[in-house]
Subunit: 239 residues, 2 copies
DNA sequence: GCAAAAAGTTAGGCGATACTAACTTATTTG
DNA sequence: CAAATAAGTTAGTATCGCCTAACTTTTTGC
């Protein structure tokens, strides 16, 4: 009964299914909001076969959620972008709420939010946001889109791209890998912390960073997952 | 990719789909835990065609969740009953949490919980329960099953079945119809309230009830939705 | 600038879950 | 107790979202 299907969806939204919301989120993430996304990239991010993506992408294009040209990847339409941002808002508010209100550790909020984002109503998400004081970022520092679809799209440099001597403030870390998040927490590399790149070994070697009064060495793969806002160095060098 | 399917499900549970959980809940509700449920009743409760129920019920029987004999309805197995109670626990804790922690009005918690119960992890549900002090009933007075599958199965009399003169304490009201819940709240017929049946008109006529210092008249259909625990009448009449 | 490699698509299927229409079994009732 | 009615099932189909295998288009690299 398709009536039951309909009514199981959420009032006020155009009843996108969970898989559709996941595709839109993935395409948004790949295209950073406005760019194009390749079939294989979408497939990899969603852990699906490329052929499945071809099929779904055609359907989403028919629904007007994205622009698709065979063999040339896809781009979100304005409507698709809005839908992606609604899901992203849900996801990040849920993450923030789980951490703030329910004491969830930051390495597990992502996984839980990944499921709840498809089931939570606008009302619930808004109540969560209000309860924890309308946060602007999630526990990993990712910006939360507003109700009307605005997001801070500032692009930050990763710790891996900073020059030696440059200082900055950690604004955001990748949120998907729990083990990595636990490790970063251990190192005290969390949003808000001030970091300075002390050295970098050649040939993709480890990067030495000072965080607080500690100095530590991390691999470039990990450093790439940490985004930093530059801070004008008080000593007058340059970042 | 069935791997993605798997991983989208919840750790620690045997990965029942949302429809399956809904069937089990419905069958549990109809059979009051141990009795049998008729195909048509299940169909009606889930707003599905009877033919769809026949199909699903066969599959659930193959999975060992229920005992099924063609043309003679179904009964939950022990495993099915446990699964139903797990879902019920989720549902009711979520309802209680929404009301307590997020200020949800009692007429809307059911609908929201109906979706969240399929997406929330055990950890989330347990954290919610802990946060609001391990409630024993949901906002409508329905008992919350414990983690190990025990529920209070006391059967109460409805207001429609009470003798004139009988007094009692409202323990539970039906939870699905928001409009009815708003009306009951208006009348102050909510769990915990003391009620006395003052009169009942013949031919299925209205029932006059005193609640607090008010006296009001409600139809038998509404009265049937209100469950009451008898209170030994202080004046010595009888219930 | 063409052949090899990479990327993407189509074709053909599958499992879940639902539907309608037609049929069978059970129950009720005169 | 037989006919009428109610309840339940089977058969055949659809949609969604996914898969693999085989094919086509685009890109890359000599």
């Amino acid at each position: 009964m398709s009536a039951a299907r309909e009514e199981s969806r959420l009032a006020g939204r155009e009843a996108l299914t969970a898989p559709v919301e996941d595709y839109l989120k993935a395409i948004y993430a790949i295209g950073k909001g406005t760019g194009a996304a390749a079939t294989n990239e979408i497939a990899q991010r969603l852990a699906l076969a490329p052929a499945s993506v071809s099929g779904m992408v055609r359907r989403l294009a028919e629904q007007g959620l994205l622009a698709y040209e065979r063999y040339h990847g896809v781009k979100l339409t304005e409507s698709g972008r809005r839908a992606a941002l609604r899901t992203l808002r849900r996801h990040r508010i849920i993450e923030a709420y789980l951490a703030e209100a329910l004491g969830y550790p930051w390495d597990r909020v992502h996984q839980e939010a990944e499921r709840l984002e498809h089931a939570a109503s606008d009302e619930l998400v808004d109540r969560m946001a209000a309860t924890i004081g309308e946060p602007e970022v999630d526990p990993h520092g990712a910006p939360i889109p507003t109700r009307d679809g605005a997001v801070d799209e500032t692009e930050y440099r990763s710790l891996a791209d900073m020059n030696v001597g440059a200082a900055g403030s950690v604004v955001r870390v990748a949120d998907e890998d729990p083990e990595m998040l636990r490790y970063l927490a251990e190192l005290a590399i969390v949003p808000g912390k001030r970091v300075t790149v002390k050295a970098r070994a050649p040939y993709d070697g480890p990067i030495t960073v000072s965080v607080g009064r500690q100095e530590l060495s991390i691999g470039p793969a990990l450093a790439a997952q940490v985004l930093v806002a530059p801070i004008a160095d008080r000593a007058g060098k340059r970042g």
